[in-house]
């Protein structure tokens, strides 16, 4: 079998590539005088590739990849929204892009971080922020470590944490990395958290608190949220808010007001910084006043004259990442918030929810909607009732054939064969109608021509790939 793939490594020539090497303008000394030969490598198995070939190779690859500029990207829980082009310009402003994290003359950067903190405090209802975390999960770890430190300081042995069964995998995983063991909370039929379970768990005395997202991964706003956080607080616990689903709440309702003590945000979801095919992200963590001293340091303080950097406090959990976090991403989020302002942000929340509900009512005509009620940013369909044993995966793959991207599948785990759909506010009605259209066609195909789905996709650069083979015999590089 000859391969259909040509890796960039097969595009080298025997001609040395000098385009990117500055001319050496210092007299050379024998390298052996600097470094013994036993420290030197013998060969460097990288090819020399002409510039033209590199450009064409990656231009072609980029066209074999779906992005938000191609169309709807309805991955539930991922908030794939349009990334404003101006932000790419702003983050590349030389005096942001070229500055060194350890340089002294950095007032612009410190001011930006400080201002952004103030803006987020208003948006979320928290009292202080750190920007070190590089992504949502990293923020979770940071937040949960703050919990840990808090109880350590109080000399309380609370090494368990409540996490609903609808939670994202990063939640239990992050809690585990902070040394907690997880108590899973089973959601009730309404997709919400049963208060009595929580009360019971908290009564045991070894539970630090709860980690949840609201609206949750079903897209449902937990109506008893205030009761939940009250119960946790009643027993001295802390409430952690996974901000991955904050988008529909912008300008509508704040985690701080819901009673949360610690939250993380995903700039690459809610605040429109590009996902970049899986990062870089940014996952700032906000806390209530009492917990501010626990944040990773250093902190930026505004004095009358300037912005200064205070080393971390004694209570701080310590550094969670080198330097200042993913500053380039932070700049984009700051620009986005300034661009939208109060009204714009509220509009985001409203339109995200409008779009989700519009899809929900149209799609539930053919597809099973296990939690049939007003949703927030997203909703979850199931594969129940799809004819001819067509699976959720089959549907997802068939969607690709229509030139669209598929929803998140098989998550949350509490819905069998889940299709989790989040359109975000940056889809037009025409785009939503088109998605419904495609979904309806696929439903009909499932009835009349199921093989079309079971062998899907057909119009993509490759047909359905063998995940089992990949895992059984991992080929991870050439």
């Amino acid at each position: 079998m000859t391969s259909n793939l040509t890796l960039i490594f097969n595009k080298g020539t025997k001609r040395s590539q000098h385009n990117f090497i500055p001319e050496m303008d210092i007299d050379k000394v024998d390298l052996l005088k600097i470094i013994p030969s036993s420290f030197q490598r013998e060969d460097l198995p990288l090819p020399d590739i002409p510039e033209v070939k590199i450009v064409r190779h990656y231009t072609e690859l980029s066209r074999k990849n779906y992005g938000i500029d191609s169309g709807i990207y309805p991955l539930g829980s991922c908030t794939m929204k349009y990334n404003p082009k101006i932000n790419e310009v702003i983050t590349r402003l030389p005096a942001f892009f070229q500055i060194h994290p350890l340089q002294e003359e950095n007032q612009g950067a410190l001011e930006l971080i400080h201002q952004l903190s103030e803006l987020l405090i208003e948006i979320t209802g928290m009292d202080g922020f750190t920007f070190q975390p590089a992504a949502g999960a990293h923020g979770e770890l940071t937040g949960i470590l703050i919990m840990k430190k808090y109880f350590e300081n109080k000399n309380l042995k609370k090494n368990k944490i409540l996490i609903p069964d609808s939670a994202h995998g990063t939640n239990p995983s992050s809690a585990k990395m902070a040394g907690f063991s997880i108590i899973e909370v089973r959601s009730n039929d309404a997709g919400e958290i049963p208060l009595d379970h929580i009360e019971f768990a908290m009564q045991q005395g070894d539970v630090a608190g709860i980690m949840l997202t609201n609206p949750n991964t079903l897209g449902i706003f937990d109506r008893q949220i205030k009761d939940i956080t009250n119960i946790i607080h009643k027993y001295g616990g802390l409430c952690y808010y996974d901000g991955a689903n904050l988008n529909p709440m912008l300008g509508i309702c704040r985690p701080g007001d819901m009673g949360f003590d610690i939250i993380h945000l995903n700039f690459h979801k809610t605040f429109s910084t590009p996902h970049g095919g899986g990062g870089p992200g940014s996952g700032p963590v906000g806390v209530i006043k009492e917990l501010v001293p626990y944040l990773p340091g250093p902190h930026i303080i505004a004095t009358e004259q300037e912005f200064v950097c205070r080393e971390k406090t004694n209570n701080s959990i310590g550094r969670i990442k080198c330097f200042w976090g993913n500053f380039g991403v932070i700049v984009r989020a700051y620009a986005y918030i300034l661009a939208l302002g109060a009204e714009g942000l509220k509009r985001v929340g409203q339109m995200a929810v409008l779009n989700a509900n519009y899809l929900r009512v149209l799609l539930k005509e053919k597809y099973h909607l296990p939690y049939d009620r007003i949703c927030q940013h997203e909703f979850v369909l199931s594969d129940r009732g799809i004819p001819n044993e067509v699976t959720t995966e089959d549907i997802a793959k068939r969607i690709l054939d229509y030139g669209l991207y598929a929803p998140t599948i098989y998550f949350p785990l509490i819905v069998k064969g889940a299709l989790m759909i989040e359109p975000t506010e940056t889809e037009s009605k025409a785009s939503l109608d088109n998605f419904v259209n495609v979904m309806n066609k696929i439903y009909n195909e499932a009835k009349t021509a199921p093989e079309l789905l079971k062998n899907a996709p057909h119009n993509t650069p490759v047909k359905r790939l063998d995940a089992v083979l990949a895992a059984r015999n991992p080929i991870l590089h050439d």
Partner: protein, 446 residues
């Protein structure tokens, strides 16, 4: 401004389809007392006003004509192809490639990244990226404790102090104990209970360790102990023997030097590689090559996901989800743009140019090079007058070297100088000149 698409009429139409009367009704599940009256934020800005505002803000940062500061973040020339490729919207506006068949472009690119890194490091396997060097090191530390089922680590003096802090935070989270030891006391600290020895080379002070010797010492004394190497500027691998040739178990590095702008220290790139035998203990995404189920063609797919949080939840090897894909892509483009010739030459120039500066400084009264071992592009210099040196650099529009007492208060009057290929001869002469002036001032009694 905003990025909303619906006009009033459309909103009304959609509300009707949904069967509600107002936008407010969509938030009926939210208790009334939780509904926000109004965000107390400024009005939104239009693009021109926004750009003007941010430009003005950025101007409060200073850009220098050349830099002698490194310490974990480096100025190397970034080929134009890097920004060209990462700006292709098929790349930067995509998500993690969950639907492989519609994401072959990115999947192939990251598979190529994995290939480039394994070739460069000569390690068996590498993941699709971690957040940065510091967190990669922390994850390596944790992975070592999981692999060995031991809860104790040794960190060799010379690891970037901020990395040490991060490792400390992560270790505290999991009740892992660690100790920082000097090289000469390493042997005495090694025993069966040690999960891993972590060291940096070239280290924070610029020293290139004799890795052969170091690994030998560890293997002799604690055969089951893992050896973890970290690196903050892997361009040195253009010349230096790679970790895979030293029997290193886990290798991590900060990949910022590979085509990523300093950008106030982030985003960077956590490079993470290990021996094959630890593959299933590794954190992070992996891209694998596979076949079509019903076809002949090959393709790429996210694989070994059972290590990951979205499947294994609390039993995952790590909590990482979003990583640094676009930065990994940037570093791939950097590596293939430079190629073998380029990377070798870049490393060579870093060696040569920093050597040149070292020798020149050594001839100026009052300066003393403190490194006893070979160095790459950074080295420690004892100065006659640190503050004056900094001042003189600024006057020449040079980003001054790091005053090392920032991290090590006991180390007085010492700077960590970084010289790369991006410092032209002219920049270098200016720097030497600044050093000279600082020396004169001092001798003159200033």
């Amino acid at each position: 401004m905003d990025f909303i698409l619906h006009d009033k009429e459309t909103i009304a139409e959609m509300l009707t389809s949904i069967g509600v009367n107002s936008l407010e009704e969509l938030f009926q599940d939210i208790p009334a007392d939780l509904l926000l009256k109004k965000l107390n934020l400024p009005h939104g800005l239009s693009e021109p006003d926004l750009l003007r505002r941010l430009e003005e803000l950025s101007h409060k940062n200073k850009i220098y004509s050349s830099s002698f500061l490194g310490a974990g973040c480096y100025y190397h020339y970034i080929p134009s192809l890097v920004d060209f490729v990462i700006s292709l919207s098929g790349f930067y506006t995509a998500y993690t490639p969950y639907q492989a068949e519609a994401s072959q472009g990115y999947l192939q690119a990251i598979y190529e990244y994995q290939t480039a890194i394994t070739r460069l490091t000569q390690m068996d396997v590498t993941n699709a990226s971690m957040y940065d060097g510091s967190t990669a090191l922390a994850e390596a530390a944790i992975m070592a404790t999981v692999a060995t089922q031991k809860k104790k680590l040794i960190l060799l003096e010379g690891i970037h102090p901020e990395y040490v802090e991060v490792v400390k935070t992560y270790c505290w989270g999991q009740d892992i104990h660690f100790e920082i030891v000097m090289e000469d006391t390493l042997i005495s600290k090694l025993d069966e209970s040690v999960a891993a020895v972590l060291f940096q080379s070239p280290n924070f002070f610029g020293d290139i360790e004799n890795v052969t010797e170091l690994v030998q010492i560890i293997r002799d004394k604690a055969p089951k102990c893992l050896v973890v190497q970290v690196m903050t500027d892997p361009t040195c691998l253009g010349v230096l023997k790679p970790p895979g040739k030293f029997d290193i178990d886990i290798f991590v590095a900060e990949g910022q030097s590979f085509g990523i702008s300093p950008s106030f220290g982030g985003p960077g790139l956590g490079i993470f590689a290990s021996k094959q035998k630890y593959l299933r203990k590794m954190p992070g995404r992996l891209i694998g090559k596979t076949n079509e189920i019903d076809g002949e063609r090959e393709g790429f797919i996210l694989t070994l996901q059972t290590r990951e949080q979205h499947i294994r939840r609390e039993k995952a090897t790590s909590n990482i989800c979003t990583n640094q894909a676009l930065c990994a892509l940037a570093s791939l483009i950097y590596l293939v743009s430079l190629g073998k010739t380029g990377l070798q030459e870049i490393a060579l120039q870093n060696f040569q140019k920093s050597h040149y500066v070292k020798q020149k400084l050594a001839t100026i009264p009052g300066y003393q090079i403190l490194n006893k071992k070979p160095t790459y592009n950074e080295f420690l210099v004892k100065c006659p007058n640190v503050n004056e040196l900094i001042e003189q650099c600024k006057q020449e529009n040079l980003l001054p070297p790091l005053i090392i007492s920032k991290y090590f208060p006991d180390m007085k009057d010492i700077v960590l100088v970084c010289v790369t290929e991006s410092n032209s001869r002219e920049d270098i002469e200016k720097f030497i000149h600044a050093a000279q002036k600082a020396s004169n001032k001092n001798i003159g009694g200033n």
